[in-house]
Symmetry: C2
């Protein structure tokens, strides 16, 4: 096994975020479930956009945010995801490459537009996402570049990929290549509604040995095991034979496996502005640390630091160098 | 003269801002003059975009920012400016209309893309703008809707319009209609390099009685009168027969005419993040106040409050309701 050229390769939905501040009333009037992600079609995207306030456009996409976070920490990141060759796709491509991430997936020349997520940020900092997947539906196994997968210490996949048959195949192909090359495979369960749509498949993936590391928040974990009791869900996860990274917002995180449970507190913040990307950046810190062979607590602290940075401004891409920030906080990068 | 339907109608270059943080070294390596605005062609736009870091996309355009500021203060705003019927033009249109501003200028169906300003924000919060005017070159006198001009207490024009012959004609037509209807005409000199390009024409406009209110910062004013001495420039402005509003960054502003000079301090801030839009939002507060008949000091305080809000976050559009902010600060709105 040769030394990996990349710390983390991400495979995910390539999305540009359209963020607007809103009041809770708007969510209620539009029947939106605060904090969740729902998929919308083009007609609903147009209707919602017309109804929402002035917006800021920033590149997003859950796993893409994580890979940019890895790069910001000084890691070597690569990304596979599908945009269309349009202005929004060009912005996504510019933004991820400008951080030093290797991104070579060919854009779709026709078909639906580059994906957009209309994100409504309420005064409490919580975000509610409405995603039009557009060009993401064209991501397929042919986009999974074998050489890049084999050259990456970790392959990181998002549960959201499960919404499209072709993307699911790309996911499986990437995991298979990674394991054959002696690399590790991580997944984020993405969202509790996503878990609800694919519970049995996600459990099947874990039990088939396709996953080494699983990221989930409390809601996703309880949804996975269809229980309202967090401890029950945690106990079940511990028996799956994976490393579980469970995020608990301001309560920090738990790192669990069959042998042990480690609790790491959250990094303190001054003011919560926008939670968009909190989980993505937490995963960035943890995966970067794991790829570098750091201990669990250090990985979790790097994740907490990255998450703390992202929730103190609008958008899910770091506004400062996470590497500098980590150094200022005495963390290894 | 009927009561005005709009407090302020703006006529300007309809631009979407592409903002990226950068170090001073990047400006130096690219021969950029910090704090200024330069016009670039499409090839340079592509070169610069490829070289700059990850960006945030937010609607901009100097006078458009001001009109959105007027609306955020609870005023009635209208805007005339040219986008192309493309994705970026749709974002501009959405954002300005979402604030309640009347914007009915028909978009160009072909020709150059919607204008973009690549704005580099250095760690000191200063912004350096590189503007590709694109579709703005199609703004002409036919876009100046007589009814809207006649229905507006103030028509507000930007010096930047002077870069395009057709836009200049639109500017003159708007000013003529406004005065014939008994309304007032205000201009911002926009940028010291802009003043340098059109010094004699700007002086001619003032002396011909086409302008009632002139906004300028210290650099623009000294450029206008080709002097390195601020007091000399100020004395010259005082004799022009207009109301001069001179902004001096953290030193506040001066309101001058033949009779008097009023100095109003700046509104305090916690942390300077991005000066993009500072002058635009200052003008918003002043024009809103003037349209409502407030005294000079109150107008300047409204301007200072709006400017203070805008420089504490990325982008030149308000992140909170300026009306609420004004009320919290005991100012009339």
């Amino acid at each position: 096994m040769t030394a990996p050229r990349f710390d983390v390769l991400g495979l995910g939905n390539a999305i540009v975020d359209v963020l607007a501040r809103t009041e809770d009333d708007f969510l209620i009037a539009n029947g939106l479930h605060k904090g969740s992600m729902r998929l919308i079609d083009e007609a609903e995207a147009e209707r919602l956009y017309a109804a929402m306030g002035p917006a800021t456009i920033i590149s997003g996409g859950s796993v893409a945010n994580s890979i940019v976070g890895v790069a910001s920490l000084g890691g070597r990141g690569a990304y596979i995801g599908k945009v269309r060759a349009d202005a929004v796709g060009a912005a996504f491509t510019h933004d991820i490459r400008a951080t030093g991430v290797h991104f070579a997936t060919g854009p779709a020349q026709d078909g639906p537009a580059t994906a957009r997520s209309f994100i409504l940020v309420t005064p409490d900092g919580e975000r509610t996402m409405n995603t039009y997947l557009g060009a993401c539906q064209n991501l397929g196994p042919d986009d999974v570049d074998r050489e890049t997968v084999e050259a990456s210490a970790f392959v990181y996949l998002e549960g959201y990929l499960w919404d499209r048959e072709q993307a699911k195949e790309a996911f499986r192909r990437a995991a298979d290549i990674a394991h054959a090359a002696g690399r590790q495979v991580a997944i984020t369960l993405s969202d509790s509604f996503c878990v609800d749509r694919f519970r049995d498949e996600f459990l099947g993936l874990m039990r088939s040995g396709m996953l080494d590391v699983v990221f989930a928040n409390e809601h996703e974990l309880m949804s996975l095991y269809t229980t309202a009791d967090f401890d029950t869900a945690l106990a079940a996860l511990r028996e799956e034979g994976v490393t579980g990274i469970v995020t608990r917002s301001e309560k920090g995180c738990l790192i669990v496996d069959r042998e042990q449970t480690q609790a790491v507190p959250a990094h303190p913040i001054d003011a919560l502005v926008d939670t968009t990307g909190a989980g993505d950046l937490f995963a960035a810190g943890v995966l970067f640390g794991m790829a570098r062979g750091f201990d669990g607590v250090t990985c979790a602290r790097l994740g907490g630091l990255a998450a703390a940075e992202i929730i103190q401004h609008i958008g899910a891409r770091p506004a400062v160098s996470l590497r500098d920030l980590a150094r200022q906080n005495g963390l290894p990068v």
